[in-house]
């Protein structure tokens, strides 16, 4: 069956009265008197959907780690688990998955009691493409991407996320949105919530 996609050509009378112009003009005039649909960005900010790929964070240990993976990795690397600290087990899988591995600087340290923990975890956001491969690679659901999207900074140094900042983002995320079901954008009425409820001031501007 042939589906005709062209409109019927205009007849002469329709051309003389500019029918196509009138159609377009009537559409625009109807739109002109409707309510505007914009968000006044610096004054109003929408909350991005939960699966938004923004700045990274480290979820902290709070008893909701994916089991048995977390216990297995802790057992294997003899990780010291502290409540309220990063879940990172220094497996380096995020760095392996990364298309630009230089952006990760990960180091572990050995404590006097023989256990280990992460000591340095720097992510250079200048190199990051926000592809999320590292998040997929993380076996203990530690590294994740948050909804923090206002990432401008005055110096290049401010765009490096260190362990403390990552943990801060993680704690904030777990407080705000951990329980929220994952939705896609169009039916997300959470989107209508404004952005100001996050407690973070990121990145910190150093004069």
């Amino acid at each position: 069956m042939v589906k005709r996609v062209f409109e019927k050509p205009l007849s002469w009378i329709e051309r003389i009265i500019f029918l196509d112009f009138i159609r377009g003009l009537s559409i625009t005039i109807r739109q002109a008197f409707r309510k505007t649909i914009t968000t006044h960005y610096p004054y109003e900010k929408l909350t991005p959907p939960k699966r938004f790929r923004g700045f990274f964070g480290h979820k902290v240990v709070d008893g909701k780690e994916p089991q048995p993976a977390f216990d297995e990795w802790v057992e294997r690397f003899k990780i010291k688990v502290e409540h309220g600290k990063s879940r990172c087990v220094v497996c380096m899988l995020c760095k392996r998955a990364c298309p630009v591995p230089q952006l990760f600087e990960i180091e572990g340290e050995k404590l006097p009691d023989g256990r280990r923990r992460v000591s340095v975890f720097n992510m250079n956001m200048m190199l990051c493409t926000f592809c999320g491969f590292c998040v997929d690679a993380c076996p203990v659901d530690c590294l994740f991407q948050s909804d923090i999207h206002e990432t401008a900074s005055y110096t290049r140094k401010d765009s490096v996320l260190d362990l403390e900042v990552l943990e801060r983002i993680g704690r904030d995320w777990q407080r705000r949105r951990e329980e929220e079901p994952d939705r896609i954008w169009i039916d997300d009425h959470q989107r209508q919530r404004l952005w100001h409820e996050n407690h973070l001031q990121l990145p910190e501007v150093k004069q």
Partner: protein, 349 residues
């Protein structure tokens, strides 16, 4: 002697008023355009500077004035600056022959609210309109840039084609009025109790299209063509020099040509017309101010209509534009003139 002094004072005041209105309103029309465009696209437009962005033109002007004055390498500096003058002066000069209202008396002096009521007013308008081609061609040539040159060539081609059309379109009302003076055209419309748009609908439509083409408005904004040519012949201009071209083209010229359209077809300062019966004035309570209000109302409605068209229609191709001018509009206007010239002496007067 005393008459000369009074005449000088009156003329000086008229010049000040017209320049103030034209340039001040021209600047504020940028805000009007941005607001209309925004609301058609369901945005609020400028909202931050002043109440609903009311001070935005001032902020824009300050920004443009404090910007660096760039000049392209190997450009021709004299022509580059001359183009600005040639763009601004003729466009503003058109307002010298636009009648804003009927003759009135202040302190015993009879004042016509028109700068010079020359008896070839309309001819002057079209002569000055053709001057715009020089500004555009010079701007494109002096910039030493391919984009600018292509844009100016396109614009020059359009202006030359549509200058012919607009002149022939204006000929119809001219035959009916029997005079070239803008003031007397309006006078004769009032005396005959008839807006010429009722007798010359074809000429009016063609005039409106030619006006869009002359001022570089959509659907004829081929010289600007953001997607292809950056901004056409203004691409090498910076700061206020850049701001001047759109100001002249999009606002002052549209304003002056709308005013001419009102004079020719919509009866100038006369109130609403019922053909062959007379005039109905819902604004009678304003007394002697009412004609001026009517004139301003008509011009601003026409201007808003142009904006409305601009933000609705897509752009035509260059060959379609010139084809429409030479193959459709010109024969239509010629036919119109022919019919008017044959029928007017028989049925008229």
């Amino acid at each position: 002697m005393e008459g000369l002094v009074i005449w000088l004072i009156v003329t000086f005041v008229k010049i000040l008023v017209i320049l103030g209105i034209v340039l001040g309103v021209g600047a504020y029309l940028t805000l009007v355009e941005r607001k209309v465009a925004a609301h058609i696209q369901r945005r609020p437009g400028p909202m931050v500077v002043g109440w609903h962005g009311l001070l935005q033109p001032l902020a824009d002007g300050l920004k443009l004035l404090t910007k660096e004055d760039l000049f392209p390498r190997y450009g021709n500096r004299f022509l580059y600056n001359l183009a600005l003058v040639l763009a601004l002066v003729p466009a503003t000069l058109v307002f010298a022959v636009i009648p804003f209202g009927p003759e009135f008396e202040v302190f015993g002096v009879k004042v016509k609210p028109i700068l010079t009521d020359v008896n070839i007013g309309l001819l002057l308008v079209f002569a000055l309109g053709s001057m715009a081609v020089f500004a555009i061609a010079l701007a494109g040539w002096a910039s030493n840039s391919k984009y600018a040159l292509i844009g100016s060539m396109r614009k020059a081609g359009i202006v030359i084609s549509y200058e012919v059309v607009i002149t022939f379109a204006a000929m119809g009302p001219l035959i009916l009025a029997g005079t070239l003076s803008t003031y007397h055209i309006v006078q004769s419309q009032i005396e005959q109790g008839l807006w010429y748009v009722w007798l010359q609908p074809i000429a009016f439509v063609v005039y409106m299209f030619a006006m869009l083409a002359e001022t570089g408005r959509v659907p004829f904004d081929i010289q600007e063509a953001e997607a292809e040519l950056v901004t056409g012949f203004t691409v090498e201009y910076g700061g206020m020099k850049f701001g001047l071209f759109p100001l002249v083209e999009w606002y002052i010229e549209v304003l002056s040509l709308s005013a001419i359209a009102v004079v020719l077809f919509l009866g100038g300062w006369s109130p609403i017309n019922i053909p062959f019966l007379g005039f109905v004035d819902p604004l009678f309570f304003l007394g002697p101010l009412s004609p001026f209000i009517w004139f301003i109302l008509k011009v601003s409605l026409l201007f808003l209509f142009v904006l409305w068209l601009h933000w609705t229609l897509p752009r035509y191709r260059i060959d379609q534009i010139t084809e429409t001018a030479w193959k459709v509009m010109l024969p239509l206007t010629l036919l119109n003139i022919l019919l008017t010239a044959i029928l007017a002496p028989i049925l008229w007067r």
